[in-house]
């Protein structure tokens, strides 16, 4: 279970909280690519995304002591920080500019490409399969929220659906996602 040679995320975060620069560098090397991908996905602007990534790791450096392993995984903590900063940045951008970006992105068919991205790991494959198992209209709402940083009202507007419908779809989608992830995990565990 713990045969992997690398230091766990939790251990790295504890070391960072003690002021260990090498631990920060190690955590950065482990996750900066996936986090930059995530931030870029929301902001659609490379310089801004790099800026947010930098701010975010500075925050990790200052606030690593806030990480509480009893509340969740280190990866979740990092992703939450990254998204929160990216979304703050996104919502600070003028709505005009934002609408233009969103419209441009929609023309690429934003709904399905979350699951079309090249998969780098078994875990990514698990999530992709889980996403595929979610009914289309629920997945669409989740994808717009998670990968585009839209609020539920904005999603309702985008999909031209009543807000109540969107809320229900998002909740159902999340519940389904949790269920499918759990199943996938079990099957992987049995298989390994």
């Amino acid at each position: 279970m713990s045969e992997e040679p690398q230091t766990s995320d939790t251990e790295l975060l504890h070391a960072i909280a003690r002021g260990d620069e090498l631990a920060l560098a190690a955590l950065y090397d482990r996750y900066s690519s996936i986090l930059l991908g995530l931030i870029l996905r929301i902001l659609h602007n490379r310089p801004e995304a790099e800026d947010v990534l930098q701010e975010m790791f500075l925050q990790v450096w200052r606030r690593a002591a806030d990480f509480d392993e009893a509340r969740g995984r280190g990866f979740t903590w990092l992703v939450t920080l990254a998204r929160s900063r990216a979304i703050d940045r996104l919502r600070a951008v003028a709505s005009r500019e934002r609408a233009a970006t969103a419209a441009m992105h929609e023309s690429h068919g934003d709904v399905s490409d979350a699951s079309d991205d090249v998969l780098r790991s078994e875990q990514a494959e698990i999530v992709r399969r889980a996403l595929d198992g979610i009914p289309e209209e629920q997945r669409r709402a989740l994808v717009l929220a998670y990968y585009e940083g839209l609020t539920q009202s904005e999603i309702a507007e985008r999909l031209k659906q009543p807000l109540g419908t969107v809320k229900t779809r998002m909740r159902s989608g999340m519940i389904k996602l949790r269920e499918l992830l759990g199943e996938q995990m079990r099957s992987v565990r049995i298989g390994s």
């Binding site: 960072i16 950065y28 870029l40 500075l58 450096w61 995984r73 999530v127 998670y146 999340m174 995990m185």
Partner: protein, 287 residues
């Protein structure tokens, strides 16, 4: 809103997709609810899985350098303030359940649904620790402010003392100078009780005038000292007495004035005049 309604916001909150008003309402509820925070954390775990299928984008090497450079110049991280109860109980609770969404095999024992009483105890312990910390910080802050004020006051008064000592030393040196000359000035008919003493160093010209019982000066006016040599008055310094009629003037007597035989003080416009125009208030006996 009721607890159940808040609970239904947690899935969407984990996607950061609540509209501002609902988000704020939920944040307020999370502070006081015993069960929602743990559920919110669990939904965050689910949502974070969605980051995994994203195409990674490798940052440039320069970015890495910039970051590491930045943390070297930054102050060290904020230290954890231990809330031992919270941490231990959280660990314990997490190990009890196995309703797991963990994608990391090392962490699969982590529970999603954390047992309520333990969590509540942990939360309370943490809140108490945080409150204690806040009070400590507030105390330290106010002590620090008070010390800063005291220090500023002390350094002001030190500066004042230094100035006083400096001027006293100058006075003492003047009085002790081998070439010092002291002249007494007496009040005229306009200021019968007034008197003054002028001491000056005949070599350097450094001078000090101390006067007492001078009448108050009207606005726009000042007393001016004169050095009279061979019947010709040379202008000296200007001064105004305090409420008790006392005045001190320190300055330098010009070379020509050091040979004066008579010294006088007149009332003049406050900026002084080249030759006396007003009434005389003090006059030395001719030597």
């Amino acid at each position: 809103m009721k607890h159940e309604e808040y609970k239904e916001l947690l899935e969407v909150a984990a996607l950061d997709a609540l509209d501002a008003a609902e988000r704020r309402a939920l944040e307020a509820h999370l502070v006081e609810c015993a069960t929602c925070p743990a559920e919110a954390d669990a939904w965050r775990e689910v949502a974070a899985a969605l980051a995994l299928p994203i195409m990674p984008v490798k940052p440039t090497a320069a970015m890495r350098e910039r970051l590491l450079e930045a943390i070297r110049t930054q102050s060290p991280p904020v230290r954890a303030i231990a809330a031992p109860g919270a941490q231990t109980n959280g660990e314990h609770a997490a190990a009890q359940t196995s309703n797991v969404v963990s994608l990391d095999s090392r962490r699969e024992r982590r529970g999603v649904l954390i047992s309520k009483p333990l969590l509540t105890f942990g939360s309370i312990a943490a809140s108490v620790a945080i409150a204690a910390l806040a009070v400590t910080l507030a105390l330290l802050w106010s002590q620090n402010k008070a010390l800063q004020t005291q220090l500023a006051r002390a350094s002001d008064s030190l500066r004042q003392n230094e100035q006083e000592i400096g001027s006293l030393r100058a006075d003492r040196e003047l009085l002790a100078a081998p070439d010092a000359r002291t002249v007494a000035l007496a009040g005229t008919k306009d200021a019968t009780t007034a008197q003054a003493r002028l001491t000056y160093d005949q070599r350097t010209g450094r001078a000090m005038l101390v006067a007492a019982n001078l009448p108050p000066v009207p606005a726009g006016k000042a007393y001016q000292l004169w050095f009279i040599a061979g019947g010709k008055p040379l202008p000296g310094g200007l001064f105004r007495p305090d409420a008790n009629g006392r005045a001190e003037l320190r300055g330098t007597v010009p070379t020509a004035g050091r040979r004066a035989d008579t010294f006088a003080v007149t009332l003049e416009p406050q900026d002084g005049v080249p030759a006396p125009t007003g009434s005389m208030y003090l006059l030395s006996a001719a030597s």
